[in-house]
Point group: C2
Chain length 489, copies 2
């Protein structure tokens, strides 16, 4: 047995009582290994091993608690389990929170700024859409409108967009291939609505079924007069017949997909305090990492004059394997004609109360099904916000200071952005009296997590280089990405 001992007896340093003892240094000289008393190196080793085992146990216990019992885990585990069950084994650090809609009409209180709570009402679940009255003060609305006016607004859509022929050449498709692409229901014939859908997306010209019938007559495109185009009839036409016809005839602004003027306001460092406050509020509202919000498009301010409108559209396109996002194209390192703006969330602010008209319409909100073709039926075109806003499932009246926001994409079930939410289709009803001022904040996130991560890394590397001038307006899209964000994913 080892006796309790006071080996300090043999110590030369006869110490006076010390209240704050100095940390003893480790023995620097070799100690004969044979010694195994309480003060030997072996003893020290044993104590060290003991404590390290203890520490490892504590850590292990904490990890056990962390992964088994905590409320956070209760919520997180579904994603993890789902992920472990799926093919892709790669682990992510970030899980994007998504607000809960609960049910239409549900009201939840949200804290967006110190000392004030807002009420957020669920307007629909498909898309997941909320309304927050009083998101902006009267004063803030005024400032944003004035800043936009100072900066100057441009036409949101020029008559006939350019670059379209290039795209057609780039794709190099035969008439037959184009016909097949247009023939959505694959019945071997082109219905009016199939041509219309195509024309609206590609040409930005809003043809009504009546317009199209006139064009058919003008071009003698439909000799049998049944309102359908067969492959033979389509071949005879040539792929740019419609465009040429329309350019000759001229297009009024009310015949365009959108009829408004807009500008972009940079919200980063050095911008007006109101704009920075707004960005902060949006970050709190969406509960997304601020890096994601910081790296998104600037604020878009839009003015609809009397008679202005924006026919129903998606703010961001569907995700195919080839799709790249505008904001991460640099990091994507790929060339593809499928590019979309990847706007995960739209936050829309009403900067004034419109005298009459100008509602935001969601034609298919909470519909049981979504079928693109059935949007135009029996000559009723649900996407036409000049004619059929009253037939939309949901209309939001513009009230000064109110914000609405919705998700343009679903969740992928694993905490990231998934498929496009087709139900997010929306438009601006025609302003029948007065003017309508709104602003859009889009949160851009690449549905490809890796690409988003790579993009944010690239931006953080570039930081400090081109941070001064990030808000040069583009012709059509938003200005080039702001590069002053210092945070990473």
């Amino acid at each position: 047995m080892i006796e309790p001992q006071d080996c300090g007896d043999g110590d030369e340093h006869e110490a006076t009582p010390q209240t704050v003892p100095t940390l003893p240094s480790m023995p620097r000289e070799r100690v004969p290994l044979q010694k195994s008393s309480v003060c030997s190196r072996s003893y020290f080793m044993v104590v060290m091993v003991f404590f390290h085992v203890y520490i490892i146990n504590v850590i292990a216990l904490l990890f056990y608690v962390h992964y088994n019992n905590t409320p956070g885990d209760v919520l997180a585990s579904p994603s993890r389990e789902a992920q472990s069950g799926s093919e892709s084994g790669f682990q992510r650090d970030i899980y994007l929170p998504r607000l809960e809609g609960i049910r239409v009409g549900h009201v939840q209180k949200v804290s967006l700024m110190p000392g004030k709570t807002h009420e957020m009402r669920t307007l629909s679940l498909k898309p997941l859409l909320f309304e927050i009255p009083g998101f902006l003060s009267e004063e803030e609305c005024r400032v944003v409108v004035q800043l936009a006016q100072l900066k100057g607004l441009m036409e949101s859509q020029v008559m006939v967009p350019e670059g379209q022929e290039e795209l057609t050449e780039q794709l190099n498709l035969s008439s037959e291939e184009i016909f097949n692409l247009l023939d959505l229901n694959q019945d071997g014939q082109l219905q009016l609505q199939e041509i219309l859908t195509h024309s609206r997306v590609l040409d930005g010209i809003w043809l009504t079924p009546e317009n199209l019938r006139e064009i058919y007559v003008g071009l003698k495109a439909d000799p049998d007069g049944n309102g359908l185009l067969s492959l033979e009839e389509f071949r005879l036409l040539g792929s740019d017949a419609f465009q040429r016809f329309l350019q000759q005839r001229g297009v009024k602004s009310s015949q365009l997909v959108r009829n408004s003027r807009h500008t972009w306001l940079y919200q980063g460092q050095g911008s007006h305090q109101v704009l920075q406050d707004l960005k902060k509020r949006v970050t709190r509202l969406t509960r997304l990492p601020s890096a994601l919000v910081d790296l998104s498009e600037p604020l878009q301010v839009v003015r609809y004059g009397q008679g202005g409108h924006y026919h129903a559209h998606h703010d961001s396109g569907p995700v195919y394997p080839e799709t790249v996002c505008t904001h991460t194209r640099l990091a994507a390192n790929a060339s593809t004609p499928f590019e979309t703006s990847c706007r995960y969330i739209t936050v829309l602010f009403y900067l004034n109360s419109v005298e009459e008209g100008g509602e935001t319409a969601f034609p298919v909100a909470d519909n049981r099904t979504y079928e693109e073709v059935s949007l135009i039926q029996n000559n009723v075109d649900l996407m036409d916000t000049r004619k059929n806003c009253d037939k939309s499932n949901l209309r939001v009246k513009p009230v000064k200071g109110t914000a609405v926001f919705w998700y343009n994409y679903l969740s992928d079930g694993q905490g990231w952005v998934g498929e496009q939410d087709e139900y997010s289709l929306h438009g601006g009803c025609v302003v029948t009296r007065g003017t309508k001022w709104v602003a859009n904040n889009w949160i851009n996130i690449d549905p490809d997590y890796q690409r988003q991560a790579r993009y944010q890394q690239l931006v953080s590397l570039q930081e400090g280089e081109g941070a001064e001038d990030g808000d040069e307006p583009d012709e059509d899209g938003p200005p080039s990405q702001v590069t002053d964000a210092h945070q990473e994913l």
Copy 2:
């Protein structure tokens, strides 16, 4: 300076080289405090303090990581924020996970048992409804059916339920008050569907609009023959006129709300391994704490013979302030006529593939709106599963071994059970050929968190007392709560 030293020099025990040194015991004798060499008590204290500070740092770091960076937190924080914004300041330890539906048709892999993954398909979002093929093996289906047959099945519904007159007396309502309760749309008249809805819920008798017209004629209840009852006409009838009429005329089982036989199978300790396995699988599927699953109703096995049906109903009722749950009534310590079974989740197993008919119908799944009155329109009664299953929004065909499950309640937005999900309305279509065997697993959770917590505490106190015999069948409801669960919330 403290010299490195080998104080073992003064040791009486001249040790031979030891490969496995024994753990030195602490000095048991008092050591003069003046000594401060490397082997003194001070030295030991310093090492201890150093290590404890180290350990505390590690723990603090882990907690920091836990509450700031982990994915669990990103998901959990919205609930917490929402809660902090709401009036009720009380903090809960538990956040019930809720599966994500994403969109109709979405398929996710789930791991329910070792070495196997199942595919779970989203069937609807309102209610949140999933289908999992192959949840049970052929053998397991056979065992469950046999166990139910061994135990013996009873009629699911007797002709005219008792206790109803007591309830009417207990409430002590005047004719006028009853009239007002029945007059759902408050137009001062009772439409056919208002009487029907009432009769079905309270009497369990499934009258069709034609039946009711016959009764009106038989009772001379509607002298003006307009199919509506005014307050005067209703007063003349007396509150139990319908019941008396029906009892005289007699009711066939096909005219009842449900036409089936069922039994209850206890799933706790000592029960058949298949039943215990099933419970485990349900726990993994729903991702709920096992204590909640353990304390829920036993498995209900139901047999529908040829011609059997169950008209559309909710498995659990709405939540009013006065509502108490059957399973927590003891803990609720309140007496109220509003009692419901608080079945948060229904897991329905198909134990055989039905030859013809017997689908599970969800008449209003993913409907844009839910209005009780509009369920019966133009003589088409969507809740009638003998007549109108084909008009249901969704029908699930019974396939042996498949499980479907859905939430009967929404989330409250703060991680607990919220309002009833009215869209969870469902029924069993009439079995036109063959027999249909199904089993139901219900997870009972009180929407009042405090009451559920109190109930679980009570059960854990009772543990060991009445754990043997928990599966005595009731006449109508499930057997009294099982008390063998050892876990708390």
